[in-house]
């Protein structure tokens, strides 16, 4: 019989998920622990795999548009924008200016909605229960705008290839402006609750550090990359849909820890409001674009990406001169970002895993597609 000592520290394998509330969906992380310390992880994903890429090969270009909303379902408008831009690039057409400005407004509203959902659930994971109610309350206002505009709140199907389906409703500008005026003080309110909260700071500062070089190594994009001090935003680097006309800053962090990611996202919400305010004032008159009855691009392939709330969302579309895509590849930001989880949690405490998963802002519908 082997001699056992008191407080024998053997490796412990802990199963986190798939039904764990703070994995934000059905993510299963197998944690290898040495006491409280994480010495290795393995992510098991695919529980939400629906084969979006295969569906894309079997639908016409118009028919596939509602499916992309269901990947990152909290940022459905961004997904739709990326898809429409990709197909428009393949057809070599561009949406009319009125459609472009509307797209920018709705996409930025969606970024706010996505960040609000992130903030609420992330704070809930850490133990701050109040922000989730406030965030959902403000998110409701965004969803109301979506509902008024296109009839759906979450999986909006707001944009069509070549422009928009719906003309702006009466009072759209006023509602958006009222939201902006209402929202900015609310961001300050969240910050009052969290930014200097000592529990919040203690749980987040110095946790899950990912440096800029590591981000590039893993292909991590979005607020995680910017929190590491890399000032890179596709809206600035390769502007699409007229983003070059708007004046906004790209907030960055310094340390690349979870606290910086929180700060970056809070700043991003303010910048989004700034973009929306500029855009609302300059909605040009004119056509909103018309979807071509038959979308049949010439043989070819394009890769088009946008800055989704989670990071770089790319569509690689191969056309074989038929009405259906030959290959529809989606480059999901959450999937690529999740890969860096192992690097971030290794050597940290098991309690920090929750904070780090929360701060990566993954949506499992997009990870698994």
């Amino acid at each position: 019989m082997p001699e056992t000592t008191f407080l024998d520290s053997t490796e412990l394998v802990l199963n986190m998920g798939p039904q764990h509330p703070s994995t934000h969906g059905v993510l299963r992380v197998i944690l290898k622990l040495d006491g409280e310390k994480v010495i290795g992880t393995e992510c098991v994903i695919g529980y939400l795999h629906r084969g979006v890429e295969k569906i894309g090969e079997n639908r016409t270009y118009q028919q596939f548009a509602p499916y992309v909303d269901r990947m990152d379902y909290v940022a459905a408008v961004s997904n739709g924008l990326g898809y429409c831009l990709a197909v428009e690039k393949l057809l070599n057409i561009e949406a009319p200016p009125r459609a472009q400005v509307t797209r920018v407004i709705l996409t930025e509203l969606n970024r706010i909605a996505s960040h609000l959902l992130w903030l609420g659930t992330h704070a809930l994971d850490i133990g701050a229960i109040t922000p989730v109610f406030y965030c959902f309350r403000e998110r409701e206002e965004v969803l109301k705008i979506f509902e008024n505009y296109c009839g759906a709140r979450l999986t909006t199907h707001a944009f069509r290839v070549g422009g928009l389906q719906y003309e702006l409703y009466d009072g759209f500008e006023q509602q958006v402006k009222a939201f902006c005026d209402m929202f900015l003080p609310k961001v300050d309110e969240y910050e009052e609750l969290l930014t200097n909260n000592r529990i919040w700071v203690a749980r987040l500062k110095g946790v899950g550090i990912l440096t800029g070089d590591e981000c590039k190594e893993f292909g991590v994009t979005g607020p995680v990359l910017r929190a590491a001090g890399v000032k890179w935003d596709l809206r600035k680097a390769q502007p699409y849909s007229g983003y070059e006309q708007y004046d906004f800053d790209v907030p960055t962090g310094e340390n690349g820890d979870t606290y910086d990611r929180y700060i970056v996202r809070m700043q991003e919400m303010r910048q989004s409001v700034r973009i929306i305010r500029q855009a609302v004032d300059r909605i040009p008159a004119g056509p909103i674009g018309k979807t071509p009855k038959v979308i049949k691009p010439a043989t070819g392939e394009v890769y088009v990406s946008i800055e989704a709330p989670k990071g770089e969302l790319g569509y690689f579309v191969v056309s074989d001169n038929s009405t259906q895509p030959y290959r529809m590849r989606v480059r999901p930001p959450s999937f690529v970002n999740l890969q860096a989880l192992d690097r971030m949690v290794r050597g940290g405490l098991v309690a920090d895993v929750v904070a780090i998963i929360g701060t990566l802002d993954i949506v499992l519908g997009e990870v698994d597609r």
């Binding site: 079997n58 690039k89 390769q238 691009p297 392939e301 890769y303 690689f316 480059r331 999937f335």
Partner: protein, 215 residues
């Protein structure tokens, strides 16, 4: 340019489908589609109207890799290079170390079942310094085992696993070549063209879920 050739290896139509086209949908397919009207028999689609990619970088690549570089082309303003399968990793290494393409955006594959080299393997790269994207494409056969890109870009790990999961392309030297999205015991590779959209591994469904698959 000598290697003004597209992926399929046939002569491209005159360089008219490129970026300079007026932004109108009808115009893009015209050069090829204006020929005799389609009959009942399915006609193979016209090849991609790619133009040559000119500049400093393709010249560097040509100088460095010579014959292993099949083509440097550009379609709708997006540049891509077609290389021999064995040259992919050296090209990625060269681009990372000497041309600052330090961000591997995506790895994916495209299945062409009627071609001798069945798969197109596509690597999408981005350079933060140049603010530029390139695609590296290669054609591999069904049985080929391309080298893994993980030693060059750590982020290739999951992307290659997904390509394996969906297409069954084994990457040689990959640290963890397993399925990633589908269950381990799943049979078949769903994104291959011979798999129909409603087809699934009925045996797996019966054994693990205890139901008869609805398909």
């Amino acid at each position: 340019m000598a290697d003004e050739q597209n992926a399929e290896g046939s002569a491209p139509p005159p360089a008219s489908g490129g970026v300079s086209e007026p932004p109108k949908q009808k115009d893009a397919p015209k050069p090829a589609a204006a020929k005799p009207p389609a009959h009942a028999a399915p006609k193979p689609p016209p090849p991609m109207a790619a133009t040559a990619w000119e500049g400093e970088l393709p010249n560097q690549l040509k100088e460095r890799f010579g014959d292993q570089l099949t083509a440097c082309s550009s379609y709708l303003g997006q540049n891509f290079a077609v290389v021999q399968p064995e040259a992919v990793i050296p090209v990625l290494e060269f681009l990372k170390l000497e041309a600052d393409f330090d961000y591997l955006v995506d790895i994916t594959a495209v299945d062409y079942p009627n071609r001798a080299e069945r798969f197109d393997l596509v690597y999408i790269l981005y350079s933060f310094r140049r603010n530029e994207r390139v695609r590296i494409k290669t054609m591999i056969t069904d049985a080929a085992q391309p080298r893994s890109a993980v030693p060059v870009h750590t982020g290739a790990n999951w992307l290659e696993r997904e390509v394996f999961d969906m297409f069954g392309i084994q990457f040689a030297g990959h640290p963890d070549m397993r399925r990633i999205l589908l269950p381990e015991e799943w049979q078949g590779f769903p994104l291959r063209k011979e798999m129909s959209i409603i087809q699934q591994d009925n045996r797996w469904v019966r054994e693990n879920l205890g139901i008869e698959s609805g398909q």
